[in-house]
């Protein structure tokens, strides 16, 4: 994997958190992203240096709200959570034990904490139900394209009847039984990452990974009060997508091999960490790996503004979104589509039908507007 290190330059690979891993599945067709992620490159820093900083930010109000809600659910040994689990999963009263795997004292390394988590999970998997019920802050590990990422989930792993569940706490509200679908989907994608990581851990320990349920417990505030409510969410689909994408990333080797020798995304940081690589140079390097821009990138990938600009300068129809591309039958550029429409361009083989439609549309547009 030294080629990947070379691509990244002399900085440690950027650890992926669950959010980033969940986002990996967002644009699986993009080679640029696959390479950058596999090499653990800091895409945000890359985008910023290119002059296209990512448009993402989180409001401090949202962050505070999330922390406060999580603290509420977890306070007094997860008293609220126990109530919910008793209600929706029929957790028996005697099963009320709570272990904070993050509470190990001092400031030990991720590796040390992970082995602590492993030890306790191993014991939990071997013993009967009275061994433990709630495990807070498990430090999990997931291998991504040969790099180990530690996941520090604010989730609780919960065990009942020999099965583990992931409990994910989110502060968006469920009002009259409904929540914003995007938020639920994002939560499910993230929870799937944890399920996968927990399954991997159990498997390594010689246990059956299927003991981690694909039903995760999503805890959200209900209505306008702050009271938590729980729902079971099936994340099988998200798991499948994620697994597929992780497998693709391990196969990223083929793409990497095809890259020009000497190509690197090294920002050449100075002593203070500030990038010194000439911007034009970096731009050439990034352009050296093919992208597949789609408007969805605007909410999922740090490089979105750069790639959008690139797509615009190439006059790509990707810019306009899937629906338009579909309506254009996959014609790649604006100039080509317009040429077919006004008849100045002879359609290639297989383009006759869309060319006919476009010419007709062009005629009608002229006729009625």
């Amino acid at each position: 994997m030294d080629r990947l290190d070379e691509l990244r330059g002399p900085v440690p690979p950027r650890p992926h958190d669950a959010r980033a891993i969940a986002a990996l599945a967002a644009n699986p067709g993009c080679a640029r992203r696959a390479v950058l992620d596999a090499a653990g490159i800091d895409k945000d820093a890359t985008a910023t240096h290119l002059g296209f900083p990512a448009p993402f930010g989180q409001s401090p109000f949202a962050i505070t709200r999330g922390n406060v809600f999580e603290a509420l659910v977890k306070e007094s040994g997860c008293a609220e959570l126990l109530r919910l689990l008793r209600e929706i999963l029929g957790l028996p009263i005697p099963l009320a034990s709570y272990t904070d795997l993050g509470d190990v004292g001092g400031n030990p390394s991720a590796h040390l904490r992970h082995s602590h988590t492993r030890r306790l999970l191993d014991r939990a998997a071997r013993d009967g139900d009275d061994a433990g019920t709630l495990y807070d802050h498990p430090l999990l590990r997931l291998d991504i394209a040969g790099h180990t990422s530690y996941l520090e989930p604010d989730v609780v792993a919960f065990r009942l009847g020999g099965r583990f569940h992931i409990v994910e706490i989110k502060s968006f509200s469920v009002i009259d039984g409904q929540a914003e679908p995007d938020k639920v989907a994002a939560a499910a994608r993230q929870a799937a990452v944890y399920v996968l990581a927990l399954r991997d851990t159990l498997e390594e320990l010689g246990h059956d990974p299927a003991r981690v349920s694909h039903d995760v417990v999503l805890v959200c505030p209900e209505n306008f009060a702050n009271r938590p409510a729980a729902t079971l969410v099936d994340v099988r689909r998200e798991l499948a997508v994620l697994r597929r994408q992780l497998a693709r990333m391990t196969r990223v080797g083929a793409i990497v091999d095809a890259l020009e020798p000497g190509l690197t995304f090294d920002l050449v940081p100075d002593a203070g960490g500030a990038p010194t690589r000439p911007v034009a140079d970096l731009r050439e390097a990034v352009r050296g790996v093919g992208a597949r821009y789609a408007p969805d990138c605007l909410s999922t990938c740090d490089l979105c503004f750069f790639c959008r600009d690139e797509a615009a300068s190439e006059g790509s129809t990707d810019l306009l979104g899937r629906q338009v591309r579909d309506a254009l039958g996959g014609v790649a550029t604006v100039a080509e589509a317009l040429g077919l429409a006004d008849g100045s361009l002879i359609p290639d083989e297989g383009q006759e039908e869309i060319a006919r439609l476009l010419r007709l549309a062009d005629r009608m547009y002229a006729e009625v507007s």
Binding site: G77, A79, T99, D103, G105
Partner: protein, 287 residues
């Protein structure tokens, strides 16, 4: 607000409008450097504000007279009432609800560290210290406070201890209200709310609709529950329901706590016994 804060705000506003102009005029480089300047000004503003913010002690002119006591006394009072290790948030809630105190979360943050320093300088000079609860790893439990005069068995935290201590907290709060010798509905609203919050997570303790059927379910509906908005649980019912669940966990918890306490006695010296051992040294000793 100080001069410099006002100045900075003005500067920030000017920068923001200059950026707007620069962007409009397509002067990308200028906009970028202005943006950097803006971030700097904003950071300076934040720092100035932090420096300017009154410290907690002088910031509470309207505290009720009860809070003339030093913070550690108030925390001690609350912990003594509860009789179990508690998180800062619970201490603040209990003190506010039952003692009409006005402790605030931030006041508690440095408490444990101060106590530890005092202890290390002159051990056992004070009648009590506010100290740590110890985890299974014999390290200080994050966020929990305890009292040094309690037996070690009370201060260590086994897997069931958070639940046991929560139920105990509910019992203590309910008993306190019972001692007030007046109907629950006439207890201070803060106390009612605290009890309601605790009760809703105990099967059979809340007047209706909450908790799981099972232990103590027979008492459902017995609460007075006449205050609109939320039903006030009957403290006697809360005590009964919490005791019922407590009975389920008590033995297992006591065994686990005794085992941890035993290890703590064997392996920790005085200061560590009160304020927790460092995990790494322990790991070595374990090996």
């Amino acid at each position: 607000m100080s001069e410099s804060l006002d100045d900075l705000e003005e500067r920030i506003n000017t920068l923001r409008s200059e950026i707007r102009r620069a962007v409009r005029a397509r002067e990308g480089a200028l906009a970028r450097s202005l943006r950097a300047e803006l971030r700097g000004a904003e950071r300076a503003w934040d720092q100035a504000l932090a420096a300017h913010e009154p410290t907690p002690d002088e910031a509470a002119p309207d505290e009720p007279p009860g809070s003339l006591l030093p913070v550690r006394e108030q925390v001690h009072q609350a912990l003594t009432l509860l009789g179990v290790p508690a998180a800062g948030k619970m201490i603040v809630a209990v003190h506010g609800a039952l003692r009409a105190g006005s402790l605030r979360g931030p006041q508690l943050t440095s408490l444990r560290r101060d106590e530890e320093r005092s202890f290390r300088t002159s051990p056992f000079a004070r009648p009590y210290y506010l100290c740590a609860a110890l985890t299974d790893r014999l390290s200080a439990s994050r966020g929990l406070l305890a009292v040094s005069t309690w037996p070690l068995e009370k201060r260590v935290i086994g897997p069931l201890s958070p639940r046991v201590d929560f139920l105990t907290t509910a019992i203590r709060v309910a008993e306190h209200l019972l001692r007030l010798d007046e109907p629950a509905e006439q207890a201070p609203p803060g106390a009612q709310r605290l009890l309601a919050r605790l009760a809703q997570n105990i099967p059979g303790a809340a007047p209706y609709g909450t908790g799981t059927p099972g232990a103590g379910a027979a008492v459902r509906g017995a609460g007075p529950g006449v205050v609109p908005g939320f039903a006030v649980p009957d403290p006697a019912v809360v005590v009964k329901a919490a005791r019922a669940e407590l009975a389920v966990h008590a033995d297992a918890d006591a065994t686990a706590r005794a085992e941890i306490a035993g290890r703590a006695r064997d392996r920790l010296r005085d200061p560590e016994r009160l304020f927790g051992g460092a995990m790494l040294t322990l790991a070595r000793r374990e090996a």
